[in-house]
Every structure is written in C-alpha cells, then in structure tokens.
Amino acid sequence: MSEAILELRGISKSFPGVAALKSVDLRVDRNEILGLVGENGAGKSTLMKVVIGFYRADEGKYLLRGEEVALGGPDDAIRAGVGMVFQEGCMVPNLSVMDNLFLANERGFARGPLIDRKRMAEAARAQLEEVGLGSLDPRTSVGGLPASRKQMIEIARLLWLSKLYGSENPVLILDEPTTVLQESETEMLFRILGELKKRASIIFISHRLEEVVSLSDRIVVLKDGVVVSDLERGKADVPSIERLMVGHELAAEHYRETMQAGPRGVVALSVRDLSLSGKFEGFSLDLREGEIVGLVGLLGSGKEDVCRCLGGSEAPSSGSISIRGRVSRFSSPKDAIAAGIGVIPIDRRNEGLATSLDVASNINLLVLSRMRRGPFLSPALERKSALKWISECMIKTPSPQTACATLSGGNQQKVVIAKWLAAEAGILVLDHPTRGIDVGAKDEIYRRIRELSAAGLSIIVMCDTLEEDIGLSDRILVMKDGRTVREIPCPRGGKPTPLDVIGYVV
C-alpha cells in the first residue's frame, strides 16, 4: 500500500437545486497518475474545484500529507503544492513566457526595487528544460504559442511554485489536456507526465478513455456526484468503464416516453452540408414537424456550433439552411427568429433572461408588437399575455411583476420557454434545457417538451446526460470532432441503451 498524499473523505457539495457531490472519497497516492472519468455533469469539475480550494465542501474532510487542511482558495492550494492546469491555459497572453511563469512571484528576482530580468530568464530556461521545452525562448510572448506549449508552461509554473513553497511531491490536476492537442503532442505530454510521476502525483481528467486506461495507475469513475468505482491498473478496460459511467439501465417512463408522438408531417427544417471552418463540417439534417432530434457529442464536438448557426448568432462558412422549403440566410439572431427558430440557451442567466426584470417583461419581450393599442403598448394586454403564459407553463411566481432573479432555476427556465412559445417559434433548439434544475421541475419540462412535439413543433435538444438525450429524442445524431458519425433511431419502446451509444461519442 503506497502512501496517500491527498485524501478527501465524505466530501459533499450542493448548489441551489442540485447536489453536485454526495459523500465522495478520493485518494491520491505518492508518485501516482490517477485517472478521473465521468459523463458531463457527473461532478468532476466540482470535485476538482474543491481540491484546489475554489469551492469549500459543505461536508467532509480534506487531508494533505496526512494532515487535515482548510484551503481558503486556489492560492492556499498552490502554497500547499496542489495546482490545476486548465484546458485552454490560464495565462496573460500579451506577456512573455517568463513573466507568466513567475507571475505574482517576481520578488525572488528583485535587485533593489527593480527586477533582474536576466536572472529571471535563466531561471525560466532551467524550468522549461524540466518539461522538455528547453528550446523555447523565455522572452517569447505567450499569445502566439500553440495550446500544447501553453499547457507545458503551466505545468512548469506549477512545478516551480511547488519548489518555491518547498512542497515535495506536488499534486497536479490536468483537466482534459489532450482535447486541444495533436496526436504527436499527446505522446509528448504522456512521456513528460511519465517522467513527472517520479516526483509528483497527477490527476488526469479525460473523456478519451483509451488514454486514461493506458496512462493511469488507478481510475476513479464518478457518476451523479458519487464515486461508483475505483479501479487499479490492469483491472480497467474501456467497455467496463463505459458501463460504469453510464450506470443503471434507464427507466422508460422517466422521460415521459408514453407521450412520445414521433415525427409527423412535413420537413420543417432542412440543413444541407452546413460547415463552420474549424468547428464542424458537412452537417445535414431533415427535421420534421413533431420530431425531436438529439444532438449528442462531447464538448467541442461541434454540436454547440451547429446550434449557434441555426440560431443566427454565428454565420456558417458554407452549406444551406431551409425552413419549410425556403432557403434562409441568417446574419443575426433576428433573422432566425423571423424564420421561426427559437434557441433556449444553456446559460439562462446571461443569455436567456433579464433576471433584474419582471416575469411579464421577459415573457412578452418577443411579442411586444402585438401588445399595442394604437401607437402605444397596452399594460392590460401585456398583463393578459403574461398571465396566460404563466398558467400555461405552470410558472410558480407570486405575480407577473416579480423579478425573475427571485425565481428558482426551474421556474426561470419555464419563463424562457414561455417567451419563445409566446413568439410562436415553430422550431426550438433546446440547449441543455434541464441544466441546474431539480427533479420535479425536470419532469415538468420533459412533459412540456412532449406536449410541444405533439402539437407539431420541431425540436432539437442537447442534454446533460446521454440517458436524457436518448429518452427524449426520436433519433439522435452523434457528433465527434466536427462530424456526424452516427445516426441512431430512438423510437418509443425501441430505445438504445446509453452503453450502445457512448462508444460512438468518446
């Protein structure tokens, strides 16, 4: 049994409406690479934010090198030798490599009130050598460097900090490091991680299970905020991890399957060979009236960009979008709205609602032109419309004049949906419609989606979990690295299991 460097015992963390972590135990040993896997929303990020002190756990113990600690923030964590490398890098782009390396710790290079740049450059060179970047000039500005280099610089920075604070065997967290890397760069990263292991512990988070299996000494699987498995090297293979990630078989009625109507009628939306350079290519889709299509894929698979193009907030580089047979070109969301496409965004607070305004103002935003009597808006008509949609969508609010900020997440989401229904959008794009919503409100949203589809609306969904995608959709399109790799039908009574699907996703 090797020695534990970092140990979490019974960590729980809740956010309003959701329990993100439920009594999680996690151990990181000396000189170990620990793989951490789980679906989107399983709690990986929350757990790592607890580890680096960004969040404070509601319950549980945090032990470092055998002693209980209470981290006040990421700076405390770094002083204790725990640091995280972020996917896109977390650096000041217009500063040089060495400035970033020693950012906020320049004091060691002081010569009187000034900084000894020469000595700083030498130290930077030595530090870069350690991560295989000996040839990089420390005076280069970081902005133009490829993502792989930025990651290595961040690793070098964390190593240097652990030396500065005298923490032996630091713990480095790498969040999805390989998604931004080329294959050769990935190999290089793995070689360096193998070296680093001799004097550090590494938590490696990735959706690429093959990589996790080949690199990790131990693999921890998270699901719904619980550690479902802790596998030693050699005992884990990709299919068994997939099974653990997805978990139990899905209960059919959970997604109101009996109400699933299926596609009817004509093609409402037809997309042909849509591409956005660097994001996705050759996306085609025929969406019928009453049909629900799930877009499935990892973050960065291109599905979000497809939806942005459909909603008009991004212009595709090629391809066509036709609505009920008419080719449409969207230069802004305004055009997409005029064509009958409504996007219910993932980021409710920043993109879906004006939370400081009242429920009525939010619901009526898109239909104010219908609220006029003569040249002026009629408060009576506005109130009538607001009350109608509040009852229609079962929004729990004291009055139409209540500020949206005071409503729960579920009710805020219902306000956003009401806003688009009031505008009579025929095609809805639902971007994670149940994100951050409690179970009861989720069910109401599922039922609503079914009713809308039965009423002939065409719907595209992207969900928090595969289960949800499969449960809600009539068929799903799996996207990977910008391409549609698979179309899988999900009719009522004939749904695939998440296990059947996940192999195409990762």
Partner: protein, 312 residues
C-alpha cells in the same frame, strides 16, 4: 425564494421627506411660497437634463456631453432668436437631438464606450459653442416676447413647471408605453440576451442618446430663458448634476433598473438639497461635501454590487 428588497424609489422618497423635514426645522422660510417657487424652477431644469441622462444610464451607458449640449443650445438660441422668433425653439431642439444622435452613432456604430465617446463630443460641442460666441450673449431687444413664453405663467402656475412636467410625460410615455423605450430597458438589463432575442440594439442606443440630447436642449432653453442670456460655460455643472439626479432617484448605473419616476424624485431631492443648504446657511464651499456624500450613499443603496467580483 429571496425576500424582496426595499425598492430604491421608496428609499429615495424617504430621503426626500427627511430633507424637507430637516430644512423646514432648520429655517421656517424654507417652506415659504417664494422659496418653493425657486426650488421648482431649479427642479424643472434638473429634471429635463436628468430625464435624458436616464435614457442613457438605463442602457448601462453614460452621457458626459449633456453640459456641452446645454451650452451649445443656449448660445445658438441667443444667436437665432432675433431672426427666427418662436421658431428658435424647434430649431435648438433639433440641435440638441442631432448632438445626441451624434453620440449615439459614435457609441453604437463605431463601438466606442459611451464614457470615452461622450467625453470626446463633450469637448467638441463645447468648442463649437465657444467658436460661435466666446462672450455671453443676451436676448436681443426685440425678442423678449419669445423668451417670456418660457418665463410666463398661467394663473399661479409658471410655464417653466409646465415645461418640466410635459418633458416628464413625454419621457415617461416613451419608457413605459413604446417598444423602443422597452428596448432601452432590455439592453440595459441584459445586452447579450437582447441580441439573441433579435432586438435592434444599435437603434435602441441611438434613440437613448438622441433623447438625452433632447432633454439637455430643453434644459438649455429653460436655463438661458430664465437668465435672459446664453454663454458656453452655462451647462458645465449639469454633467455631474444630471448624473446625480439619476442615481439619487435610484436608477442603477449598471442599467436595466429604475426609470423616469425615479428621476422625478431625484430631481426634487437635488433641487431641495441645493436650495435648502443655502437657506439654512451652510457655507457654499461646504455644500459640495454634502452633495458628494449624497451621491455616494445613493449609489451604495441602489447599486447591486453582490454580483461583481471587482469594482472598477
């Protein structure tokens, strides 16, 4: 569900009541008919320029050029009144609207932050006023009748108050009962959401600045009419005053919350404070201290800083 906080406008109304009480206790003459008239005259000017400023602050921006617009309007008004007679009124209103629209174009089309954009036009418009006439201009002999439209009264009601009230009604209706007025509130509350919901953000911005120019023009007309003169330094103090009127009324500097009613209360508070401090004998040089404190307290009360990590 969170407990609803006390609305800023009630805090402002409370502040109003406290000030009236305090000044009345300090000097009985504060509530005299003559003094009340003086206060209301000042309030009408503060109100007109403050209502315009409200339009811009509601979008989350700021208009630093209102003082220069007032100055320019007062100079142009004196220059054209002899030739145009009563037509001078619409003429200078258009000057104000056009100056505001210029701000709007700079901010919305050139995408320059309003703080910098209007800081620039503030200088440009002020220079223009100085170039037209560096020295003060008086109302020409033959035009007293025109200015007295503003200075007159119907029964006990002074025209200046009616102008203030009419301006308030126009801005209030614009904000509450028109789509463009709503657009101003929406983009102030959440610009990204407004864009994704298809609102014409540039148009709403343009209109808000044009309305600010209009409010400043009205204030400029009233001010130079009551003083029977126009000169380039006439509007300077109204930049700070107009902002103070808005925030003291409880409209948030971040936009999206507050409105014309708030600014009405804010103008009353500022009018009373300016006047009352003199009536109870506070040193003129010390008065700025109280004004400064009031503005800071007002922002502290109305500005929701809980969501901001860094205050700059």
């Amino acid at each position: 569900m969170k407990r609803a906080a006390i609305k800023p406008i009630y805090i402002s109304m409370g502040m109003f009541a406290v000030l009236v009480g305090a000044f009345t206790a300090g000097d009985g003459n504060f509530l005299s008919a003559y003094n009340a008239q003086t206060i209301l005259n000042a309030v009408a000017i503060l109100l007109a320029v403050g209502l315009g400023q409200t339009c811009v602050i509601m979008t989350g921006g700021i208009d630093l050029s209102v003082g220069s617009i007032m100055s320019l309007v007062s100079v142009v008004f004196m220059l054209v009144i002899g030739r145009l007679g009563a037509w001078a009124f619409p003429f200078v209103l258009v000057v104000g609207l056009a100056s505001g629209a210029l701000n709007g174009v700079i901010v919305s089309r050139l995408r320059i932050p309003s703080f910098i954009g209007t800081l620039g036009t503030q200088g440009i418009l002020l220079s223009l006023a100085y170039l037209l006439s560096a020295s003060p201009l008086s109302v020409p002999e033959n035009s007293y009748g025109v200015v007295d439209i503003v200075n007159g009264q119907v029964g006990p009601i002074k025209s200046v108050w009616m102008i203030g009230l009419a301006t308030f009604m126009v801005f209030f209706v614009l904000q509450r009962f028109t789509r463009i007025g709503r657009g101003i509130i929406y983009i102030g509350a959440n610009e990204r959401m407004s864009y994704l919901s298809g609102l014409d953000i540039d148009k709403a911005r343009l209109v808000s600045f044009a309305m600010s120019g209009l409010g400043a023009a009205i204030a400029g007309i009233v001010l130079s009419s009551t003083l029977y003169s126009g000169y380039p330094s006439i509007g300077g103090v109204y930049v700070l005053n107009s902002i103070a009127v808005v925030v003291v009324g409880g409209t948030a500097m971040t936009g999206g919350a507050g409105g014309m009613l708030n600014t009405l209360v804010g103008a009353l508070i500022m009018g009373i404070l300016n006047n009352g401090m003199t009536v109870v004998g506070i040193d003129v040089y010390a008065q700025q201290v109280f004004l400064g404190i009031l503005v800071i307290v007002a922002v502290a009360v109305t500005f929701d800083r809980t969501k901001l990590a860094i205050i700059k």
